[in-house]
Symmetry: D2
Subunit: 110 residues, 4 copies
């Protein structure tokens, strides 16, 4: 019985993206210009949620895994686009993790 | 400030569907023919997960809510199709909740 | 086969609390004094997460359900205490839903 | 602005445990003796859920993180105890990941 998972790279990218989004979320809330960060915070929450769901579904070898990853890639790109517009280090780190995860999801579809 | 949510009907359908899927999951595990129920159990887990995510996103008025609900409707229909093939009361109840939730998600998109 | 759930009242309270927390989260992000709402937003996210987990576990008749509900009651009370300090209608509504959910969780333990 | 997380080791252990639990869940459903695995499957679902919640909360630097990790360690130990009783490689791998995660959560509390 093989306990390794065919989707391990994408699972790792989703988990790393969820950490980056949650970190960005928490640090945005500590910024002095938090009102400017409202959309970033909201997208961080969305992106962490779908990354987490996708990682869990891939680990279960779900027949729906590709559907979840397709949507995950879309939410990651939306979050990356918003984060890129802010100079904060946590936003830049989050944008990078989101783009990496979006690509891992697209790779997994093929 | 209005604390009501424009998506309340769809949130309620998603939460009811998650309960039905989780109930079906637990009761499938108690069946004597549990091997026959493996795909039902797996889809119950997928469907409960996306219903829960969609309900939370709608309650946050997420800009991604429609994307989540579109996928939720697809997973609900897959789960309903599997559940309908089993005579257990919990499967029939789950199929019904899944179809109602799929429709609520489609209605919410328009 | 009985498809009803012994924990239905507590499941309903958890789902209602998750909606109230997510609503408060989204509306806090739209306030002009959002920096003042940072702890409220963070606790809303924690509380929605544990309410959702507890509701799903109860619906699965999980042997861990009481453990999840004990912690859920504690997080609900922390969130209620923070929300009560803000005059916004969504905060007051959230505090009320949190206290109701905390009580439902304590009732479920006995 | 430091984007690293003080809880990174525990986050990694929680994510690895969630993967192991979800893998065990899926592979238990494929076993011929799936009825014997019912409690293992149920605990896998509980454990993956609380590991995921704890990882997300730690990444948000949640003030509730220690509460979530204390419960996570308890659920991990219950899941490990069940998995250890089965000879399947996925159960043994899951038991090991659960015990490692339980220890990481206890370490994080201190």
């Amino acid at each position: 019985m093989n306990t390794a998972n065919q989707y391990q790279d994408c699972i790792d990218a989703c988990n790393a993206c969820a950490v980056a989004c949650n970190t960005c979320f928490a640090q945005c809330l500590q910024e002095t210009d938090v009102q400017m960060m409202a959309r970033c915070i909201a997208l961080d929450a969305d992106c962490a949620a779908i990354c987490t769901l996708a990682a869990n579904a891939m680990a279960r070898n779900s027949e729906m895994a590709k559907h979840f990853c397709r949507l995950c890639s879309e939410v990651c790109l939306a979050c990356a686009h918003e984060c890129e517009q802010h100079h904060h280090a946590h936003c830049q780190a989050c944008a990078k993790a989101c783009k990496k995860c979006a690509q891992a999801c697209l790779d997994m579809l093929n």
